[in-house]
Amino acid sequence: MFSRLRGDFPILDVRVGESPLSYLDSGATSQKPQCVIDTFVEYFGQRNAAVHRGAHSLAVEATDAFENGRIAAAGLVGGTPEQVCWTKNATEALNIVALGMDRASHGFGGEEAERFALVPGDSIVVTEMEHHANLVPWQQLAASTGAQLRWLPVTASGELDLTDLDTIVDETTKVLAFTHVSNVLGTINPVDRLVEQARAVGAYVVLDACQSVPHMPVDFVDLDVDFAAFSAHKALGPTGLGALWGKSELLDALPPVLTGGSMITTVTMEETEFMPAPQRFEAGTQPVAEVAAFATAIGYLAEVGLDNVFEHEKELARVLLDGIADIPGIRVLGDAADRIGTVAFDVDGVHAHDVGQYLDSQGIAVRVGHHCAQPLHRRFGVTASTRASTYLYNNVEDCTRFLTALAEVRPFFGVAGEGE
């Protein structure tokens, strides 16, 4: 199956200079199958219109496409369609929660929203392996409310250090926000253990599911989180679309951040009443074509099966890790047993930017830099790393081509030591 589906992705036929393309940067953004691209052609060519507001036939069709996307997304991550609020990306989704709590802390949202208010003495807990998208908004919330920002440290093996979990997540904790899977290390975090501690102290759980939803079966209801965020573009879907998932009771109580059209019931010059979720968080014209295209992507993923995707990528991770172990002078960041096909590493004597450049000259696309996780890199004593990340369209040949090129890097830059 996995060898056949490569043909569905037109970009894999692109050549980089004289080399074929091995795209190992799906952790940043995924490539799109033809059917997802076709949805844009079909939507804009056949049924484009503004949704929710029209009696005319195109508007009805566009609304159907939009709402069917919500149904598809609920099928992907669990819960009901009303629990899925569309955003521009996962970053906006995480901000909606943090900024909604900020507004609740400043008296917005009435009695309903008081449960989200933070005061000095409260704490917010994140982890040292967060993407900036799940760190900076919480820093801002702490600054705005006087709450304290705390974090769970990361071990040398790239796992969350839970030694002091009970004292870090304590009775003062109102929010525990963490990533399901590290976008740098590939580590899968123990959601159950963290949710259990959050429940014990009555904290809300916010899950950054950007790197899990595309790569493994995920059900937010089973995981029992309160809010979760993910992006369409990392899961075969288009750019310009992400989602906030939440428990309905909480979504309906959280004050909206972006306000305007299509999220209100009554507006006078003086005041406004807001609709319940999901519309509450969907002010203005929505990414309708993008939702339609994402629905197609979800259908594609369902056909392949996310359990199969998970297994496939685990095999590729093995190939990558075993191969890298044979190349002198490469240090992989983290070695958690529970992981997806994402591997970040440091090449002794060669800066990540130069590593990436060399690999690119062989048609191998990897990511270099801090991957929006500066604190995590600091934890590992580097400012930047090189990251290879797989997806369902990658194969062993991509990995082998990557490993062959990687072995040439240090010799090329003249830093291969004696006897290497």
Binding site: G17, E18, V350, H351, A352, H353, D354, Q357, Y358, S361, V368, G369, H370, Q374, H377, T383, A384, F412, F413, G414
Partner: protein, 159 residues
């Protein structure tokens, strides 16, 4: 190996990225001559450089820097420091401007070795938009720090 890669990573660059001329402890306010300091960060990759300039009595500029970055950015700082050892402030600004133009030429310009010296070796970089900032990072810091040093000298004159 593609020729583009060879043009990018010319031997001068690989050598200079290891030589790191000028990579030494900053003196900051312990410097005796008029001096300036700049800290530049490339947010996309985390590369950074701290660089200081000190105007010497003989009309030359001492450059000291410390930084962390790719071979292009380190080599660029190193070449800059070497050039500074033999040039006046005016000459350096001329080089800076020629270098800036070269970097933004997207491979369409011949580098003028007469002006640029070893910095001409970076002409391949202009074909790699993502690397232009790497090559320019130390030069941005230099221009900023030199400005400050010159301002400091002005002040001294008028004091």
């Amino acid at each position: 190996m593609s020729t583009q890669m060879q043009q990018l990573y010319q031997q001068v660059i690989l050598d200079q990225s290891r030589a790191r001329t000028g990579n030494e402890a900053l003196q900051r306010d312990a410097a005796t001559g008029p001096h300036g300091y700049s800290h530049q960060v490339n947010p996309t990759c985390g590369d950074e450089i701290e660089l200081e300039t000190e105007l010497l009595d003989d009309g030359h500029i001492a450059v000291r820097w410390s930084g962390d970055g790719c071979s292009i950015s380190m080599a660029s700082a190193s070449v800059l420091s070497e050039l500074a050892a033999d040039a006046t402030a005016e000459q350096m600004l001329e080089i800076e401007s020629a270098f800036h133009e070269l970097m933004h030429s997207r491979g369409t310009m011949e580098a003028d070795e007469g002006i640029l010296g070893d910095a001409a070796a970076f002409s391949g970089v202009s074909k790699f938009p993502a690397r232009i900032k790497c090559a320019l990072l130390s030069w941005m810091a230099f221009k900023d720090a030199l400005n400050q040093a010159q301002a400091a000298r002005e002040e001294k004159h008028h004091a």
